[in-house]
Symmetry: C2
C-alpha cells in the first residue's frame, strides 16, 4: 500500500467539523460524493449546500464509488449520543469500524468508505475509529492527525467558552474578531481541598495524553491494533506513572498521597462538577455530589448490567491469582505468573483488554469501576442520564475519583510485584551496567 | 404618556436575540445608537457589524441620546450567569431596573434607556425587568410582548433541540430547512413512578403560565407593580389551584395525592434531571439525585445564607400566628388575622413579597424553600454550581419536588382557613344567590 500526499490530506480533512455533513466544505476541500453516499436528509439539496460554502473551498475532491461494507450494529449508537470506550457495546462496535477502515485496500478506498460512514455514524465513534485506523495503517501512519482538542473542544473546555465563541462568530465579521480566553479555574473553589490540584487534573495536555495513550493501545479490535508487545504491562506502567506524578503534585500542594478507593459500600467524599457540555450529545456531563455510594448498574440502553458484588468477586479472584502465583485460563488451565510475563497477563486481565486470558472469570474490573462511578447518579437509568466524565477516557482524568480508583488498581499490581524475587546481582549488572566499582 | 405604534414595535424588537448586541439587527430593525451607548467591545466595529446584517433590516431606527440613570449594582450580576427571582439579591436589582424603566418619561426615552441597558445587563434580568415594566406602564401595557419560549427557548426545550437547530441553520440554506421536532418525553422512563405525569409538569403552557403569573405579580419592586389588591391571597389561590389540578392529573395516572414535604431532615426520594441547558449561563441546570437531604445554605456569590433551622423557626412562627389568630407586625404590634384580609396577610408573609408585614420575623419561607432545594447539590458553593430548575420560576414546575413543597405551603393556608367561621346563610345567599328554593 502506498498513498500520495494529497490523498492523505483528504483523509485529514474529515476531522473538520465532525458534526456537519460531508456535503459541507471540510477544511478547504469540497468533497463530491457519489449520489448514493449522501444521506436522505441532504439528497435533494447537496448542490445548494455545497454552493453555500463554495467560497471556503480551494479544492474539489471527487470521491470514488466503492462497495460499502455493511455497517450493521455500528449504527445502533445514535448520532447524538455520547460514546465511551468503557462501555463494552461501544468497544465492540468501534472494533468493527476500525476493522472496516483497516481493511480498505488503499487510501482512496479508505476515503470513499470514510466519507460514506462520516454522515451515518456517531461522530465520536467515527473520529475514534478512524484515528485508530490511520495511526495503524502502513500507508497512513505517517499522517499527523489533528489533536482532539481541535476536533472535540467540548471535551476539554468550560462550556462557557462556546457561547462566547458563538457570539463572536455570529456577530462580528471575520478580521475583527477577538480571541476568547479559555478559563483555567472554574470547577470549584479552594474551599474544596481537592480543588488545589484541579489545574493539573484539568490540564489540556494531560487529558490529551490519556486519550492518545488509549488510541495507541485500544482494548478491543483486530489483533493489529490490540496485540502489542507488553500491552498489559504498559497499561500498568503508564497509569502507575500518572499516580506517582499526581502524588508528587499533591505533596507540592500540601495534600497527602491519594487514598485507594477500597470500600465500595462507603460514601465517596469527593464531589466533582465538570462543567463540560457534550456538543455531540447536547447534554452536560453530569456532576457527582458528595457522599454518593456505588450502586449495582442496570443500563439497558447500553447493555450494561453489573453488581457491586460482581466487582468484589473479580477483585478477589485477581488477588487470589496473585497470592497463588498463577491464573486460571479460559480453558481451565493454570498459568504461572512469572517475573517476565506475569505483569503483562495481569494488566490485560485487570484493564481488561481483548487479550485478557479469561474475561468470563476475571471480568472487567478496571473498566467497570469507571462505569460504576460514572453512572452513580442514575444507576438504573430510570432518568436516561448520560455517564459522568469518569466514564469517558478523554475526560476521566479531570475527576479526583480517577486517582482514587487508579491508586486501587495500581496497588493490585504492586501486590503482584511484591511476590517477585529480587533482581540478582548478575541481572542488575547486566541490565544497568552497575558494578560495585560504580559506587567506590 | 402616549406612544405611537412604531415606537411600541421598536420596544418589542428588543426581545429578539437577547444575547446578541444592539449593533446587530433586531427583528427587522437596525438600531442606530448614540456612540456612547455602544459597549467597548463593539465601539470600533459597530458599522461593520451593522453592515454585515444590513440586508435583514427593513427599517432604521435612530435612538435618541438621553441621560442614562446609574445602573449601580444592577451590573453585579454577570452577563453570563443565571438569574433567579428566588434569590433576594436578584430581586433587589430587578426591582431597581424595573424602576428605571417605569420612570422613563415616554416610550422614546424608554427605548433609549433600554438599548443602553440591553448590552450591559444580564439578558435574563433585562428581559424580566423590561417585561414587567412594559406590562405595567400605561403607555405600553397594550403591547403584546413575545412569550418567553421565543425569547429563551433554553428554559423550555430539551437541550438536544439546539444542536439540531444549529446544524440545520449552519448547514442548510434558507428555504430548504426542515422543522425540528421538539421532544416531549425525555427526562426519565416510566420505571420512575413520578415520570408518569412528566408530560404535565414539562408542558410548555403550564410553565409559561407560571412565568407569566410572577411577571404580573412581582414580589419586589415599586408599589406600582407589587401593591395589588389581594396579592397575597392570589399567591395562595393560584398555587392551590395548581396543586389541585396536579392531584387530579395524578389520580388519572394511578398516582396518589402529592405528599407534603414535611420532614426537612429526611432524604428526598424524588430525583429529577431536567436536561435543560441555559444558553445565557452556558451551564446545564443540574439534576438532583435520589435521597438527598436539605442542607444549610451558604452561597457567598449570591449573598444567600440560611439554615434549615431558620426555616423551621419561620415555619413555626407562621403556624403560631395562625393558632393565635394574629401576627406580630414589624413595629411589634399585634394584628388580627380576620376572614377578609387574613389570608392576604399570610400570603405575603409566606411567599414572601415586599408586602410582608414582618420579613425579619417571618422570613422568606416559600422562597428559601425553593432555593434550599435548588442548591441541594452544592449547598456551600464549594463547586460554584448554579441552582437547579426548582430555583428558577420559569422552570420550577418541571420538578416533582415543586408540588411537594407547594403542597406543604398550601397546607399552611388550609390550616388558616380551618380557623375561619363558617359562612352564614346570609353571606352564602348574598354571594351565590343560593336559597333553599334552589334545591327544591
Amino acid at each position: 500500500m502506498s498513498a500520495d500526499r494529497s490523498d492523505l490530506n483528504n483523509l485529514v480533512a474529515l476531522f473538520d467539523r465532525p458534526l456537519e455533513p460531508m456535503v459541507r466544505v471540510k477544511g478547504d476541500k469540497s468533497f463530491k460524493l457519489p449520489a448514493e453516499y449522501v444521506t436522505e436528509r441532504y439528497k435533494n439539496n447537496a448542490i445548494e449546500i455545497s454552493n453555500r460554502f463554495g467560497e471556503e473551498a480551494s479544492e474539489n475532491v471527487t470521491v470514488e464509488k466503492v462497495p460499502i461494507p455493511d455497517l450493521g450494529d455500528i449504527l445502533t449508537l445514535g448520532r447524538k449520543e455520547n460514546f465511551s470506550l468503557f462501555i463494552p457495546k461501544h468497544r465492540e462496535i468501534s472494533a468493527k469500524l476500525i476493522n472496516i477502515f483497516l481493511n480498505a485496500s488503499d487510501s482512496k478506498v479508505l476515503l470513499s468508505i470514510a466519507t460514506y460512514v462520516h454522515d451515518r455514524v456517531n461522530p465520536y465513534l467515527f473520529i475514534y475509529s478512524f484515528s485508530v485506523a490511520l495511526i495503524h495503517r502502513p500507508d497512513t501512519k505517517s499522517l499527523k492527525i489533528p489533536n482532539q482538542i481541535q476536533t472535540f473542544p467540548d471535551k476539554y473546555f468550560d462550556s462557557k467558552v462556546f457561547t462566547k465563541a458563538r457570539e463572536e462568530l455570529k456577530v462580528v465579521p471575520p478580521g475583527l474578531r477577538r480571541p476568547i480566553e479559555i478559563p483555567r479555574d472554574y470547577t470549584a473553589t479552594d474551599l474544596e481541598e481537592e480543588h488545589r490540584i484541579a489545574y493539573w487534573r484539568e490540564d489540556l495536555g494531560i487529558n490529551l495524553h490519556h486519550w492518545h495513550w488509549h488510541l495507541v493501545y485500544p482494548t478491543d479490535g483486530p489483533e493489529a491494533v490490540t496485540k502489542k508487545d507488553r500491552r498489559g504491562e504498559l497499561f500498568f506502567y503508564s497509569h502507575q506513572q500518572i499516580i506517582a506524578r499526581y502524588n508528587f503534585e499533591r505533596f507540592c500542594n500540601s495534600l497527602k498521597r491519594v487514598d485507594r478507593l477500597l470500600d465500595w459500600q462507603a460514601p465517596i467524599k469527593e464531589a466533582y462538577f465538570p462543567k463540560l457540555d457534550s456538543l455531540v450529545a447536547s447534554r452536560a456531563y453530569p456532576g457527582r455530589v458528595k457522599d454518593m455510594v456505588l450502586q449495582d448498574l442496570n443500563i439497558p440502553n447500553q447493555a450494561i448490567k453489573v453488581d457491586v458484588d460482581d466487582m468484589l468477586r473479580w477483585r478477589d479472584r485477581i488477588y487470589g491469582a496473585i497470592a497463588e502465583g498463577a491464573i486460571t485460563t479460559a480453558d481451565g488451565k493454570r498459568m504461572t505468573l512469572d517475573d517476565v510475563t506475569g505483569i503483562d497477563i495481569i494488566g490485560n486481565i485487570l484493564e481488561s483488554s481483548a487479550l485478557s486470558l479469561n474475561r468470563p472469570f476475571y471480568g472487567n474490573l478496571h473498566g467497570f469501576g469507571h462505569l460504576m462511578l460514572s453512572y452513580i447518579h442514575d444507576p438504573k437509568s430510570h432518568h436516561l442520564e448520560p455517564f459522568g466524565v469518569i466514564g469517558d477516557f478523554t475526560t476521566a482524568m479531570r475527576d479526583p475519583i480517577f486517582y482514587r480508583w487508579h491508586a486501587f488498581v495500581d496497588d493490585i499490581f504492586q501486590q503482584f510485584k511484591g511476590t517477585l524475587p529480587r533482581y540478582t546481582a548478575e541481572q542488575v549488572s547486566s541490565i544497568f551496567q552497575i558494578t560495585p566499582n560504580n559506587f567506590s
